[in-house]
Each structure stands twice: as C-alpha cells, then as structure tokens.
Symmetry: C2
Subunit: 148 residues, 2 copies
DNA sequence: GATAAAGTTGATAGAATCGGTAGAGATATG
DNA sequence: CATATCTCTACCGATTCTATCAACTTTATC
C-alpha cells in the first residue's frame, strides 16, 4: 500500500483543520502547506463529499472539519484516496473480491499471509485519529525545539 | 503496498520450483500455473539475475531454485518486484529517502506512523519462507480435501 | 440587488507504471 | 550442425497519478 501524494496532502490539510476550528480558505491551506492549489481543491472536495469536511461559500467561508478530530482515523482517509488497505483484493475485509485468476481463494496460502498484513496495517491506521496525529507532532516538536 | 500481478505470478512460480528440485521449463511453468508465457520469462529472468533462481539452457534445461526454500522469504520477492515495503520512501528501512516536499523527516508525525506500518509488514513477510508458504498450502489442502 | 469572494465541476494533459507481446540473439546438448 | 531453451531489447496499449484550466454556482456583504 504505497501512499499517494494525494493522501499525504489530504492528511497535511486535515492536520491543520483539526487545529483551526474556524473555516479555512483553500488558498490559505495551499500556501501554508505548500500544496498545488487546484489539486488541493479536488482533495478537499472529495473530503467534503465523504462527510469528513464541511464547506461554507462566500466571504468568510472555507473548509472546516465536520467531525471531531478524535473521530477521523487515518484508515478512513487512506482508504478514501488510495483504496483498500489490503495488498490483494482477496485479502480485503471491507472490499473483498476474489482475484481474477484465483481458482479457490479459500485454498490460497498467499491470501492468508496478505490478510495478516492487512490486519496489521488496519490495526495501526484505524486506531489513530487526527487528534492523535497532532498530539504526536506536538510531542516530537517539544523534543526538538527550534525545529528543522 | 498493493501486490502487483507480477509478484503474484512470481510467488506462484516459486512455490512450484520450491517443490520440484529439477530444472523446470518456462513453458511448463506457464502452462501449469496459467501465466502468460512471455510475461513469465521476464519474471524468471529477474529472479535469476537476483540470485534466487538459476537457469540451464538447451535440452533438459529450465529454471530451478538456487537457494533452499527455507532461505527465500516473501519479503525479498515482494521488494524485488514491487519495491520497498514502506508506504512512504521516508519510512523505508532499506531504501530511505526523504519525501520530496518534506522539510523535516524527523519532525514528521506521519512518518512515525508509516514506520509502524512498514515494520509490521516486514515482520510478517520477512519471517515467512517459500517452505513455510508451501507448508501452509498443504495444511489448507488437508482441511478441505477434494479441493475447489 | 450588484458585486466580488469563494467553492464546484468537468475537461484536459503529461508522465509514470503496469501487464503483456514480439522477435532476434546466445548457448547448451545430442 | 540442429534443436531446444533461456536472454535480452524494444515496444505497445491501458490505466493511474499528479496537476492545471476554464467556466459555473452559491453566498456574504455593501
């Protein structure tokens, strides 16, 4: 499961939005996080359409988190942009599909292995919220004051 | 880390070669495992060039495992065809590279998370050999006799 | 209600990757 | 030498990824 640029941008933007609880304009986000503006529009729109963000148009508008930062987990974001966590479709929990050339998924030894990988990944990403992520970032920042 | 078709083909071929300790022809492997022949040539060649297989040309030739089935782990095969196990280059152990747009890898909270994912994946794939995989396949086959 | 700020949408495009094919070349064996 | 087999280089079509553009719609404020 290679993380796409899109997902990385999304998570960076969400980290900001999890802190600011006021609407933030696309332009501001794009500048602060150094994300191509037009590309970011797509990303935020998709997050909006999936109920993670809400938007307000017009003056004073922008995007803000619709849920609580504790209630958005990394797994959800990754799945939204990069698809199922599982390495093969046959090992996916939420999006199972037998592999095209697989005669018998239940007799496939590889599938068992890949289910282990998926489960391990999901255990990490589904138990980590935006709030946790920001908390970690703060913890690291305290350890290396001055940054860079 | 989505598993490519190439990797799946490679593992299927290796499972066969881990059982037969005689040279097996490309054509035979392609037929038995239902893999496009020309595509399989590439795959076996790459495994050969990386010291996992050895080859013999001419009559009676073919490919065979160069190492012991216990000494080839899934992690090696996956890395060969699909690249590093880590979800981001900055979280890779063997192929670390700072992300293009990352100012400070050490201060990146996401990186820490992705290292956890990488480690969990590696722990599974690097501790499982071809021999283990075949053993698992046999175990499943015994549970569902008749197959299919 | 005019106007401007802001989000929404669809089309497009270049680059990279993936799955696969073609064919000539090299080499071992009988 | 003839044949069987692997080796190597090039190429192709489809898809995905990243990103950009232009046009449109909605809303806040004056």
């Amino acid at each position: 499961m290679k993380l796409s640029q899109k997902t990385k941008y999304a998570l960076r933007a969400l980290q900001v939005l999890a802190r600011e609880r006021e609407p933030v304009r696309i332009a501001t986000l794009a500048e602060r996080e150094d994300i191509p503006r037009k590309f970011l529009e797509h990303i935020l729109l998709e997050l909006n359409n999936h109920g993670i963000l809400s938007s307000r148009r017009g003056r004073g508008g922008g995007y803000q988190l619709r849920k609580q930062p504790e209630d958005v987990c990394l797994g959800d974001v990754v799945r939204l942009f990069d698809g199922p966590l599982a390495p093969t479709s046959c090992s996916s929990e939420r999006a199972f599909r037998a592999c095209d050339d697989c005669k018998d998924p239940d007799g496939c030894a590889l599938r068992g292995v890949m289910r282990e990988v998926r489960d391990a990944t999901a255990r990490i990403l589904d138990n980590l919220s935006l709030a946790d992520l920001n908390q970690r970032a703060d913890a690291v920042a305290r350890l290396t004051p001055g940054g860079r």
